[in-house]
């Protein structure tokens, strides 16, 4: 009996202890006062959502809030409301509450608009890069490099505004050269970076120095040139895989276009040949197959600006560079072209390989008409101008075109027929298999025209043409089968009809 009583007593005690644990750290009286504060209209300053968020905070965070209130880094309910409104996850909230810079700079009573962190910087009149939501989403902040990491000082001390020595005292906005060196303090240090992200390269500065952007900024001292923050932003820097990042694949065209599509910013910049640098690239890219795939369909496999031009070493590809860029994805076409006669002719004339026929930023969807020999066609026009002495070439283009057209037309025709036959209940699986082969052959044939050789082209076109013939035979068989069914039906109906007639006559005779 006594044992049972002891057990019950122990259970009650542990239950009470557990319940006490659940109640959490007791808030400081000042904090309680702030939580219950009301504005002049009698409305609570801490909204119900913020109150719910506060109630859900763990002991550690409550204690940090208590300390902040005790140390008077949080003194007003409005300030507390601004912090609770962030609705941060515990890890981030802990970083914020341990950071005196953020605590002090988020109190509107202490700071003017240009140094005040705000949740809605635009309406509060604060500078746009003082968005507190962005700051806490920044990859540096999340990995523990907060304000002091760049600005210096000691965030755990009460006050400290000792800027790091690389931080220029004046003309920071006019002369931007310091920025690259500033970021490189960490980003070019492999040992240091390894502690944060071992997968991140540390050669950005070296590449940047060699790029036109880098040379313009560091050699010509022209601060219009892009540097780190132009593409990555300042507060709110996110990794490239984050869809909200300024360097996320689908956002890259906009980020580059912010300067390259702006004729005012680009005024005075020239190409190697001295002609003015155009500003139409973004508009052209948007209309191209690549732009439509990336921006329209959201296909992240499609190239953005940096896929061909590079990132930190962004540069216009040279004549040879164009085809190398294209071959990163279109390797089969590039390899066929490299082994073709055109390769030497293009090299002789100093023509960029792929771009000569397909263009660069405006790459349109290819069509079989490009192969024709008539006026206005790609092959025909070029050959009439540059290779008049070679009638074989025109004949080859016509052959390519004719063969591809035949296979394509057959595929379209048989696809429709196959659907009709299937609706009639015939087995179209063999036809579908041949159509798959045919489609595959057609794709390969279109690729193999880049060999500009009949023999190479025929290696893939002949099996496709064979598939056309096989399909025709199968379609014929299926039609014969359908005819057989109809004849069978007609025969059966005739037989049944005869039987009906016999029975009818018999019945009449019986009933007479």
């Amino acid at each position: 009996m006594r044992t049972i009583l002891i057990i019950i007593g122990a259970l009650l005690f542990s239950g009470a202890t557990f319940a006490a644990d659940q109640s959490g750290a007791k808030p400081d009286p000042k904090l309680t006062e702030m939580l219950a504060a009301k504005d002049e209209n009698g409305k609570p300053i801490i909204s119900p959502e913020q109150q719910t968020y506060f109630n859900g905070l763990n002991d550690n965070l409550r204690e940090l809030l208590n300390q902040a209130v005790k140390k008077e880094t949080i003194t007003r309910p409005e300030h507390l409301a601004a912090l609770l409104a962030l609705q941060l996850r515990p890890q981030k909230m802990e970083l914020v509450l341990q950071n005196n810079c953020i605590l002090c700079h988020s109190d509107s009573a202490n700071h003017s608009a240009d140094t005040l962190f705000s949740l809605t910087p635009a309406s509060g009149g604060a500078s746009s890069h003082m968005n507190l939501k962005e700051v806490v989403a920044d990859v540096h902040f999340r990995r523990g490099v907060s304000c002091a990491g760049c600005h210096g000082g000691d965030p755990s001390a009460d006050l400290g505004h000792d800027h790091v020595k690389e931080w220029p005292e004046k003309d920071r906005a006019k002369n931007r050269e310091w920025i690259v060196q500033f970021c490189a303090r960490c980003h070019s240090d492999p040992t240091f970076m390894h502690e944060f992200n071992p997968a991140l390269p540390t050669d950005q500065l070296a590449k940047f120095k060699e790029s036109p952007h880098g040379r313009t900024l560091l050699e010509k001292h022209d601060s219009r040139a892009a540097q780190c923050v132009s593409c990555h932003g300042v507060h709110g820097i996110r990794p490239a895989k984050d869809p909200q990042s300024k360097v996320y694949a689908r956002t890259v065209p906009e980020t580059c276009g912010a300067c390259h599509a702006d004729s005012k910013i680009m005024a005075g910049f020239t190409r190697a040949d001295g002609s003015p640098l155009p500003t139409t690239q973004l508009a052209e890219y948007r209309l191209s197959v690549h732009g439509r795939a990336l921006l329209g369909r959201g296909d992240l496999g499609a190239p953005a600006c940096n896929t061909c031009h590079g990132n930190h070493a962004a540069t216009p590809p040279g004549i040879a560079g164009v085809s190398r860029s294209c071959s990163l994805c279109h390797s089969a076409n590039a390899s066929l072209f490299d082994g073709s006669k055109h390769k030497q002719a293009f090299d002789r004339n100093n023509w960029s390989e792929c771009a000569k026929c397909h263009g660069n930023h405006t790459i349109a969807k290819t069509n079989d008409l490009m192969l024709a020999s008539g006026k206005g066609s790609l092959c025909g026009d070029c050959h009439r101008e540059f290779a008049k002495d070679n009638p074989n070439c025109i004949a080859t283009a016509d052959y390519f075109r004719g063969t591809i057209k035949r296979i394509d037309e057959a595929r379209n025709k048989f696809s429709v027929i196959s659907e009709k036959l299937a609706a009639k209940g015939l087995d179209v699986e063999p036809i579908s298999n041949q159509l798959t082969e045919l489609t595959d052959g057609l794709k390969k044939s279109r690729t193999h025209i880049h060999s500009f050789s009949r023999d190479t082209f025929q290696q893939v076109a002949l099996p496709a043409e064979q598939a056309v013939q096989n399909t025709a035979v199968l379609v014929h068989k299926a039609r014969e089968e359908y005819k057989y069914r109809q004849f069978g039906l007609a025969g059966s109906i005739a037989l049944i009809g005869l039987l009906i007639l016999t029975i009818y006559l018999k019945l009449r005779r019986l009933e007479k």
């Binding site: 069914r485 039906l489 109906i493 009818y504």
Partner: protein, 423 residues
Amino acid sequence: MGWYYLGGITLFFFIVQVITGVLLLMYYQPGETTAYESIRFLTTKVPFGWLIRSIHSWSAHLMIISLVLHMFSTMMLKAYRPPRELTWVSGYLLFLLTLGFGFSGYLLPWNKLAYFATTVGTNIVASVPLLGNWLLQVLRGGQDVTINTLYRFFAGHVVILPLAVVGFIGLHIIFIQRQGMAPPLGAKVAPRGMKFFPSFALRDLLLWLACLMVLLTLAVFLPYGPGIPGMDWELGEKADPLAPAYPGIKPEWYFLWEYQLLKEFPPHLFGLEGPQVCLFLIVIMFGIWGLIPWLDRRVRRDKPSPAFSDFGWAAILFLTYLTLLGWDIGAGGASDELAAVHNSARVCALWTLLAGAVVILVRYWRYEHRWFLLTGAALLQGALHGLAGLSYLLAGVISVVLAAIGIAVAHVAGSRTDRRSET
């Protein structure tokens, strides 16, 4: 007299089902990796396999059509009156068993369409109070539709239901043989019918052969059905229990009215769940239908019962309106879903009203019927719902109340006339 042959035609389609079913059974292999594949093999590789499956499917639908026509003609001709109540009941049970055939056979090819339709269909029993979840588990062989469901549907389709149907057909025919076919109402002495053999049997055979002709023609020219939703048996893709259900899953055409009725019920009604109330209503309707021989008291005294003739027509119009709604007739071309529902209700109501008007006129002129209260109520419900935009249930309640008032008034007036004629 043509109505007397419908039972025989139904029997013919049943015989076709048995023969083609046995032939299908020679290739069909129930199982997760074999059910769909074996049907696919049967229809594409086996000589005439496509024909057997096509005939089996066509014959199933035609059997239900002829069975429903047979049932309604029996109802209209009052052939259920004493002493033939049990013939009606055995026929009624055969009708329910045939619906079971349709439902169980639908899942057997284990394709996507069948899988989801069965999931939706079996889910309805979950609404049965208290026993719902247990019934669902019994029906599905588990919580969800799985291959276990297919096994028990297969057993039901090829063993249990055929045995039951054969038994009841035997009973049905024994009753008919012993009692003869029902004479027309009012005939004091049964008219001397033709001899069963050879006259009736040969005529039946003629009709059966004609049906075979139609069946073969349909099976060859439309091997996957006429392309009407709920009457389509193209194999399509294999069932994938992990794939999400797709919109627009609909049952076979003969279950469409129940499906639509379930849709018209709100989620909650009278403190119960909407589907529960609907299921209760459907059970009551089926119950009334089965008990007609005892409910129709006038005809038991060999007096005409115009109210029950009208009840039959009202039932047809009620089912027609719901089935048309279930088919989304007239929903095309609408800008949004709500507009589509309204458009469809309007068009379906117009078609039902047109059909109702034709029925009433023909009955009035040709058969001199004068009792249209229930037909009127069915049409009024369609008009209130489809044309005036009232909710389906409210329209139904208004129509039923008005019909009840009408019946009460007619009853009082009728009894007065009776008394006067007696004095």
